[in-house]
Symmetry: C2
Subunit: 196 residues, 2 copies
């Protein structure tokens, strides 16, 4: 295998274009194989580059997935953010983080696009399911020592709020102040985490 | 206006076909005008029947909407079900009702189909938004004396659970026992209703 692309022979390795081609290859491979079975090696092969170059750009499979789907946050950054600070405030930190990130239209747009596609496309829903299970929720559940079912019910609360707020746009939730929502939602998430 | 259909002249008023034509007309009118602006008169006109016949079949605009979208439950039946019985058990009744109804594949299929379409279609999302706001959530919120924002956050929890369980199909939530889910979710919904 060489760093010469199959589709654009002669392009320089490491150019902006190479990164874009790796991401395009990653989207194809993730959709075809799902998250679990996709490999950095397979993505590199599809892009016609050396696997080391993929590692150089994205560090991990999580990193490539997040970049390929244009997600606003990497699970690897998300976990330390939750575990830093008092445990009795994790609910508030998690709710504030999700509501703040999704309040930025540019940050939430790719997440909503992915969810919309997942709702109607079996391949994409499989990819999202595997990513959520093994890269996101399992890591958070393990880091916090929370049973996966509780983590998923907490996720369902926040997922539902984001959909009702930004997709269905029900009022008053669509225009509600973040602080008011944190007051309502933080105790819910905290209870799921505490196991009470 | 007569009971003679525009598309099938000569068919008998009140035949099975008339009911189907009213529902087809209703789907068209709800999609075009939204829930709020659709009227029984307008649906009757579109179907080429007398408004009295539409009333005879479906009693109310809610009734037509529920039948046209093949929803498994009418808000008019939903409210008495919640208000019957002790107030401190509303959370449990609501969670049990939603999880039981959605556990039936035939009952949940049209709800999921409507939600899938709403995720990607502006007209349909408008119709769903108006129906949820004015026919479903406002009635439940008013009957229970709960602020609409709290009712919407409770709805978001259950909506999220149904999506994660049946669309994304994350395990262990997808296979979780209903009683285990009620134990997790009922206190959440009860707290939103109690206002604590």
């Amino acid at each position: 295998m060489t760093t010469t692309g199959r589709r654009r022979p002669g392009r320089r390795p490491g150019s902006a274009d190479t990164r874009g081609e790796i991401l395009a290859a990653a989207r194809k491979i993730f959709a075809e194989k799902g998250y679990d079975k996709a490999t950095i090696r397979g993505i590199a092969r599809e892009a016609g580059v050396d696997p080391a170059l993929v590692h150089h750009y994205f560090a991990s499979k999580d990193g490539i997935f997040v970049a390929a789907m244009e997600l606003p946050v990497n699970p690897e950054e998300f976990v330390p953010l939750l575990t830093a600070g008092p445990r009795e405030e994790i609910g508030e930190r998690l709710v504030r983080f999700i509501l703040t990130i999704t309040s930025d239209a540019q940050a939430r747009q790719p997440v909503l696009a992915l969810m919309r596609t997942a709702m109607t496309n079996e391949q994409v829903v499989g990819m999202v399911r595997e990513f959520m299970t093994h890269a996101l929720l399992a890591k958070v559940a393990e880091a916090l020592g929370v049973p996966p079912l509780r983590m998923e019910v907490a996720f369902a609360q926040m997922f539902g709020v984001v959909l009702v707020r930004y997709v269905i746009q029900l009022e008053p939730l669509a225009s509600a102040d973040i602080e008011e929502l944190i007051e309502l939602l933080a105790p819910t998430i905290q209870r799921y985490i505490d196991g009470s």
